[in-house]
């Protein structure tokens, strides 16, 4: 039982990061109807920003956090301004946007590999290696910190989307972008905000991933898991993304704990295909059948 609880909490901690990333995917999908495949690369850049802030410049931890978030927001906005917005004004199809996003991802990842090499790097920062005992379970300090901060940020995001006027505008655009534009909502401002928020999510996720595990150019592949999480929750649904992320994190940890850690990723893809087969709209998604 203790092992089960241990696995569940570790899973929740990974799931929290998945949830953050999944929210970044879902937010963009809900408004622009395309998957931002460049998301993994942005998260990787966040981790690299942390790495350099700590290893090369010896900055304190909060500065590393700020650097990660700043760089991902800048990249997110830059891709939006350079690539996605001109394509949307030209009325390009979803496939076009998706291929462009893939291109951004391939470009950033391989450029980083060329410059810094593909090997795994470690952030030189000693977390207080303290475990906190909750009943029979010992939980790492970083795990708790990651889970709590992810939940806090998600709560803030929910407050922002639910209570502020900008949140209302974003939700209106998610419902119907064209009509929202007709109602006097500046959709360009909204897209700016949405890409900034999704960049923020990528930055925070990159910060925690970089500190907990390792930093390497191909680490963005983790964001595929977040995509799976947002599919489980229903693409475009924010609560679905959060629940999907936590669910996938826990399931994965259970699989690697009880079955086999080599086939953990295989399991995630199997979950993706099974979810798409049995309930293509996910847990909370709206009807996703494309209407031309």
């Amino acid at each position: 039982m203790a092992i089960f609880l241990q696995q569940a909490i570790t899973g929740m901690s990974i799931g929290g990061i998945y949830a953050l990333l999944a929210v970044g995917y879902a937010l963009i999908y809900s408004i622009f109807d395309f998957t931002n495949f460049a998301f993994g690369a942005m998260m990787m850049m966040g981790s690299f920003a942390c790495l350099f802030a700590v290893n090369s410049f010896g900055l304190p931890i909060w500065a590393a956090f700020a650097a990660a978030v700043l760089i991902t927001i800048i990249i997110s906005l830059a891709t939006e301004l350079v690539a996605y917005r001109p394509m949307r004004t030209k009325g390009s199809s979803r496939l076009t946007l998706m291929i462009a996003a893939m291109g951004v991802d391939i470009f950033i990842v391989n450029l980083m590999t060329l410059i810094f090499g593909g090997n795994i790097k470690q952030v030189n920062y000693a977390w207080p290696i303290r475990t906190i005992a909750i009943g029979p379970v010992n939980v790492g300090f970083v795990d708790i910190l990651a889970l709590v901060s992810c939940l806090v940020i998600l709560a803030f995001l929910w407050l922002f989307l639910d209570k502020t006027i900008y949140g209302v505008a974003i939700r209106a655009s998610a419902l119907d972008t064209n009509t929202a534009g007709l109602m006097g909502i500046n959709t360009n401002t909204i897209s700016f905000l949405v890409f900034a928020i999704s960049g923020l999510c990528a930055g925070i996720a990159g910060f925690f991933f970089g500190f907990k595990y390792a930093v390497y150019p191909a680490m963005g592949g983790i964001s595929t898991k977040a995509f799976i999480a947002s599919v489980i929750g229903g693409l475009g649904s924010l609560p679905g993304a959060v629940i999907g992320g936590l669910l996938l994190g826990v399931l994965e940890t259970m699989i690697s704990g009880y079955v086999s850690s080599t086939y953990r990723d295989l399991f995630s893809y199997a979950v993706l295909i099974i979810v798409l087969l049995l309930m293509p709209n996910g847990l909370f998604g709206k009807n996703s059948r494309e209407k031309s």
Binding site: A83, M98, M102, G103, F107, N110, L114, V231, S292
Partner: protein, 298 residues
């Protein structure tokens, strides 16, 4: 001379793989991130058939390609039955490709897991590749010119309208996926008999990117465009060593630039043969005008 032959051989193998992706992505509009998985399946099975089953080389290659076709149908059935398009389709295929890589890296008997399969005899020669490429291209060209090809174009442009016209969306897409599975498996198998080794990482996501790059650069609704791109993209890393390193960076950048300024690709909706014919007619017209013009002047 041997160097040129090698470059031609690699270009031919790449053309075979890209021809199927042209059907799938260029005509069918289905963007797949896991085509390398089919190449892996074709290569492993063909090598195993030859080494452990003592099946002759070409037959083993063909059987490997058929196994990879079967894999395409197996994954395609649930995916297409549920009408997954766009991002969903792409990610499902990514999952498929990763699954193939993971299984082949952990499956120890016969294919030796991550250690890789070595000692495959080198049987692929330039003649074999050229003949195979010509046959495959001829078949693909006929397929695309038939009503199947026209159906695919219709489905890509307006899926709902095509369905209203009485087209069976699922079977048409399934054919496209199966064909791409066949050609990719075929190309993978030929390459395995050239390289003599086969690792789970031989066909990774970078290979899928290569194949998609050829189709995206070459253009939609065109066979000769992607073929041209396939030759250039296969020869570039061999001719320009520096290009091999920067290749993926440049592809990424070009994906964005082409999607921005020419989303239909460089030879979108055009065939090189047709363009050459038009050029030839234009030259003849100009020539005729000049000669007649001279006569009048004289």
């Amino acid at each position: 001379m041997k160097y040129t032959a090698t470059v031609l051989l690699l270009a031919g193998i790449n053309m075979i793989a890209v021809s199927g992706c042209t059907v799938l992505t260029g005509y069918g509009g289905m963007f797949s991130l896991g085509q390398a998985g089919f190449m892996s399946i074709g290569a492993y099975f063909a090598a195993c058939f030859h080494i452990y089953g003592h099946i002759p080389f070409l037959l083993a290659v063909l059987l490997g390609a058929l196994v990879s076709t079967a894999a395409a149908v197996l994954i395609g059935f649930p995916v297409l039955k549920n009408k997954l398009t766009g991002d969903y389709f792409a990610v499902c295929m990514l999952g498929f490709g990763e699954a193939v890589r993971l299984i082949s890296a952990n499956f120890k008997p016969y294919i030796k897991g991550a250690m890789g399969l070595t000692g495959i005899p080198r049987k692929t020669t330039l003649t074999v590749v050229v003949v195979c490429t010509l046959v495959v291209l001829f078949l693909i060209r006929n397929y695309l010119k038939s009503h199947y090809g026209k159906n695919l174009i219709a489905i890509r442009q307006q899926e709902v309208a095509a369905e209203m016209m009485g087209m069976n969306i699922m079977s048409n897409k399934m054919w496209a996926l199966a064909i791409s599975g066949f050609t990719c498996g075929f190309a993978g198998a030929l390459y395995a008999f050239y390289a003599t080794t086969m690792y789970p990482t031989t066909y990774g996501s970078a290979k899928s990117t290569d194949l998609n790059a050829a189709v995206v650069f070459g253009g939609v609704n065109s066979l000769s465009g992607p073929m041209m791109a396939a030759i250039i993209l296969a020869a570039m890393p061999e001719v320009l060593r520096a290009f091999a390193m920067w290749r993926l960076v440049i592809y990424g950048l070009l994906f964005v630039v082409i999607m921005l300024f020419r989303p239909e690709g460089l030879f979108g909706n055009k065939e090189i043969a047709g363009e050459l014919k038009r050029l030839w007619r234009w030259i003849k017209r100009v020539w005729a005008w000049r000669t007649t013009g001279r006569k009048e002047a004289g």
